[in-house]
């Protein structure tokens, strides 16, 4: 890190800002080849950026586990929605929507 920063301080600082701004896009593989190489080259020379990428990857992985949490069903909603729909004026949309209410 120090060698790269000392030899090319302006480039290092620019790459540092770029890497921190593009970290999510890098992890999602949404960077073009040049940008991807720029991030990887910098991260290998910059431990804080390497840690940022690793911790962001773990954070996203942890967030994805939330989806498989306790049941998110909502007992009673179907009944209450149906009750309110029964109170709605009769509708004629003129077509079969195929909508079954999920």
């Amino acid at each position: 890190m120090m060698r790269e920063a000392l030899l090319h301080p302006l480039r290092f600082a620019g790459d540092h800002r770029f890497t921190r701004a593009q970290a999510s896009n890098y992890l999602e593989d949404e960077l073009d080849a040049h940008s991807r190489e720029r991030v990887e080259h910098h991260a290998h020379a910059c431990p804080p950026c390497m840690r940022l990428l690793a911790s962001l990857r773990r954070t996203v992985a942890a967030l994805r586990t939330l989806r498989d949490g306790p049941s998110s069903s909502l007992p009673g909603v179907s009944e209450s929605v149906l009750a309110r729909l029964r109170d709605e004026p009769a509708r004629d949309t003129g077509r079969d929507t195929g909508y079954a209410g999920g």
């Binding site: 942890a62 939330l66 998110s72 729909l85 709605e88 077509r95 929507t97």
Partner: protein
């Protein structure tokens, strides 16, 4: 199936279960009333999610005007404010801290993170639901991830600490 997934999203965007239930009801009613406007250009669930997210946004904004909402059942135990070493942390603790970190995000950041990282929608789908461009979506998502990362840093390996 739509109702369960929509509820999972909405519950993370509003303050409590009561609001979530009302938002879901309102979402399905609005969808019913507007079903003839659904032109099929987008997937049905994208259209339904958009209605739900907008309704949740309205509800949250209304609550903010009224003042903070106190949710006794959702509050984190003060005794757990200082989690122990990562090695001894139970999965349930991380989950609770994660959920709290998501709730603490500003609404503009929370919705992208919930749709993309929790629900696993594509960037294109999630940005479409929120009605924003992909560049703005990615920027908000990145900010949200950085905030969540800071909130759970105690649970990350020490090698990952910034």
């Amino acid at each position: 199936m739509y109702a369960d997934r929509l509820h999972a999203v909405v519950r993370r965007l509003v303050d409590d279960d009561h609001d979530a239930e009302e938002v879901i009801q309102e979402t399905f009613l609005r969808a019913w009333r507007a079903i003839d406007k659904f032109n099929g250009d987008s997937q049905f669930f994208t259209w339904l999610y958009r209605i739900g997210v907008n309704e949740a946004s309205r509800r949250t904004a209304r609550n903010r005007k009224r003042g903070p909402v106190v949710r006794l059942d959702d509050q984190v135990d003060p005794a757990d404010d200082r989690p122990g070493p990562a090695q001894s942390v139970q999965h349930g603790d991380l989950r609770r801290v994660l959920e709290q970190a998501v709730r603490d995000l500003k609404p503009d950041y929370r919705a992208p993170l919930v749709l993309r990282d929790v629900e696993g929608l594509s960037t294109t789908q999630a940005a479409d639901i929120l009605g924003i461009g992909e560049a703005a979506f990615k920027s908000r998502l990145h900010r949200a991830r950085l905030e969540v990362r800071s909130a759970i840093r105690e649970y990350l390996p020490e090698d990952d600490h910034p």
